[in-house]
Symmetry: C2
C-alpha cells in the first residue's frame, strides 16, 4: 500500500460521508489525494478538506482507477454495484453498508476487537452495524475476561443514524409542535418528535427487524463466537446523535462489578463513566462527536446467575461508522 | 361501603390528581361528594368536576372525617404521614406512592390481575409503580398461560411520570434549543430534551435505581409469584406521556407467537397492536390518554429457549396511576 494513499469517499455528501472526511483530517490520516464521489445530483458541490475545497465528482464505474482505498457509505445498493468494480480496479473498499457484512470472503472488522481480520481481505472489508459496533466495544472485553454466552438488549437510536433527512424531520416536527402546527412526516412512518418508534430498518417475517438480527449475526463474526446469542429490541428515539444500548449479559465465568470495571477501564476506545452518586453515567448528548464509546450503570444482573447489566453509548456516526472505517484504513497502512 | 361514597383526592392539583378527578368523572364513578385536598399553597384553587367548581382544601389530620375513600397521590412522605390517619378515621386509602407497597399488611393491586387481594385491606391499598403495572398488564396473562420465570426489560419513560414540573422542563428546553439559547434544567440532573437519561428515581448501593427494583419486587407480590426474577434498566426519554417497555420473557412452558397472541387478545385492559407490515405497533404518542395498554412486536426470543419478546405501552398517568386507583375504588363498591 502507498504510504500516502489516494483515498475516495463514496457518498461524500451524506451524514456519514461528511464525518469520514472530518475524521481523515482530524486523525491526520496521510492522505496523498482525496477524491469525493456521490450521485449526479451532488456533483459540483465543494467540501473542505485540510483547508482546501474539494469538488464532488460523479460516481461511475471508472471512478476507481488510481485510488488506493475507497470508503463507501452510500447505501447497500451502491455498494453492491460499485464495491466489486472498485476492488477489481485494485482499490481496497471499506464498506459501511450491510451489503457484504455476512459474506464469508469479506472481513467484518472493529479494529479494537478483530483488527487482524482486516488483513485477510480480498478487496472489500465491511464496517459493522452501528449499534453492534457500539455494543461490542464494551461487550467484547468482558467476553475475553468472562466468556459471554448471550445478551438481552434494547437500543435508544438517534435519528442521524437514518441520515441527514431524518435530522431535518425531527427539527421540523419539533418546531411544528412548538408552533402548534400539524406535524408532518416523510422519513419515518410516524412522528418521531416526543415519541419512540420500536422500528429500525425493515421487518422480517419472524417479527424481528433486520437491524435487530445484526447484533447476533455480526457479533458472532466479529467476536469469532459462533454460539453467541443476542435478543434485542431496536428503538428510534428523538435524539439527534449517539446511540445508547441497555444490556443484560450472561457469562460462563462468575462476574462481579469490580472485576468488570477493571476490565472495561483497560479496554481501548472505551471510557468508563459510572458514578451514580454524582449522577454520572453515559449520555448521548455528551458522547455525541466523541471518538470513544462510554459505558456505565454497571451492576449485577438480577435475573442471571453470572450476569452483568450495563449501559453503552457511542456516537454512531463515528465509532458506529466513519471512525471505524478510517481506523480500518489505518490498519491497511501499517 | 356507602353506595355513593364521599371521595377525597389527596394531591388533587398534581399531574396524577388531575387525572384521578377526570377518571372518576369519565367512568361515572358514583361519587356522593368530592373533597379535594392539597398542600397549603394550592388551597383555594378551583377544579372542575361534573360541571361544578370544587375548591381545593388544605390537607390536615382532620381532613378525613366522613370520607369513605381517599385516593392519595402526593408523594411518599405525605402518604406515610396521612394515610394511617385517614385509615384510622375509617376511610379506605388507595395510595399511589411507594410508601406501603411492600408492607405485608397492605394489598398491592392491579384489578385485572389480583383484584381479590383488595378486599383483604386493613384501611390502605397500594397502587403499583407505573412501569410495573404497564408491564404486568401484558406479562401476567402470559404468565397464567405459560408460567413466567424471569424477564429482561428496558423502559422508555415519559416525563409526566415525574410530574407537572418535568413536563414544563421539557417544553422549556425544547424552546431553548429551537431558539439557540442555553439550556437550563432543575427537575432532572441533565438536559432531557434530545437526550435519554438512564436514571429514574434514586440510586441504591447496588448500582440499581429504586425504580428498577420495583418490577421484581412488586411483580412478585401482584402475581403471587415469589420466585419471579426481573432485570430492568429504567430510562427517561423526551416523551410527554405514556411509558414504553421492551421485554424478553422466559417461560416454563414452550411458547409460540400465535398462542401468545391469542392469550393477549383475550386479556382485559390490553389491546394487541401488532401488524409490522402496516407499520402498526404500540406508540406512546398514540397510547397517551388511553385507558387500555397496548402490546405488540411479538416474536420468539433469540436468546431464550422458551422465550418471547414484546413491547408494551401504557399511559402511566392512567393505568400506571389514576385509572388503576379508580378501578380499585370500583372494586370496593362491589
Amino acid at each position: 500500500m502507498n504510504r500516502h494513499p489516494h483515498i475516495a469517499v463514496v457518498g461524500a455528501t451524506g451524514a456519514v460521508g461528511i464525518e469520514m472526511i472530518k475524521t481523515l483530517e482530524k486523525r491526520q490520516f496521510p492522505v496523498g489525494k482525496l477524491t469525493l464521489l456521490a450521485s449526479a445530483r451532488s456533483v459540483g458541490k465543494k467540501l473542505q478538506f485540510q483547508g482546501q475545497d474539494v469538488t464532488v465528482q460523479e460516481l461511475t464505474p471508472s471512478s476507481f482507477h488510481g485510488i488506493d482505498i475507497a470508503l463507501f457509505s452510500a447505501g447497500g445498493g451502491i455498494s453492491r454495484e460499485f464495491a466489486p468494480i472498485a476492488a477489481k480496479a485494485g482499490c481496497v473498499v471499506v464498506d459501511n453498508s450491510s451489503a457484504f457484512r455476512m459474506d464469508e470472503s469479506v472481513p467484518l472488522v472493529v479494529p479494537e476487537i478483530n483488527g487482524a481480520d482486516a488483513l485477510h481481505h480480498k478487496g472489500i472489508i465491511a464496517n459493522p452495524n452501528c449499534t453492534t459496533a457500539i455494543t461490542l466495544m464494551a461487550l467484547h472485553p468482558l467476553h475475553k475476561a468472562f466468556g459471554v454466552t448471550r445478551v438481552f438488549a434494547s437500543s435508544y437510536q438517534a435519528v442521524s443514524g437514518t441520515g441527514a433527512k431524518a435530522i431535518e424531520e425531527l427539527e421540523n416536527q419539533v418546531s411544528q409542535v412548538v408552533k402548534g402546527q400539524p406535524v408532518t412526516h416523510e422519513v419515518y412512518p410516524h412522528q418521531i418528535a416526543f415519541n419512540v418508534l420500536p422500528h429500525v430498518d425493515s421487518f422480517l417475517d419472524t417479527g424481528y427487524t433486520k437491524e435487530e438480527m445484526k447484533l447476533e449475526n455480526e457479533g458472532r463474526k466479529i467476536m469469532h463466537h459462533p454460539t453467541f446469542r443476542a435478543s434485542i429490541t431496536c428503538v428510534r428515539v428523538p435524539v439527534y446523535r449517539a446511540h445508547s444500548v441497555a444490556i443484560s449479559a450472561e457469562f460462563l465465568k462468575p462476574v462481579d462489578v469490580e472485576s468488570a470495571r477493571r476490565v472495561l477501564a483497560q479496554a481501548p476506545g472505551l471510557d468508563v463513566v459510572d458514578d451514580p452518586s454524582s449522577n454520572l453515567y453515559p449520555l448521548p448528548l455528551k458522547v455525541a462527536e466523541k471518538y470513544n464509546c462510554e459505558v456505565g450503570r454497571l451492576r449485577k444482573d438480577c435475573a442471571l446467575d453470572n450476569g452483568l447489566c450495563f449501559w453503552v453509548v457511542g456516537d454512531q456516526l463515528l465509532k458506529g461508522a466513519a471512525l471505524n472505517a478510517v481506523q480500518i484504513a489505518e490498519l491497511l497502512l501499517r
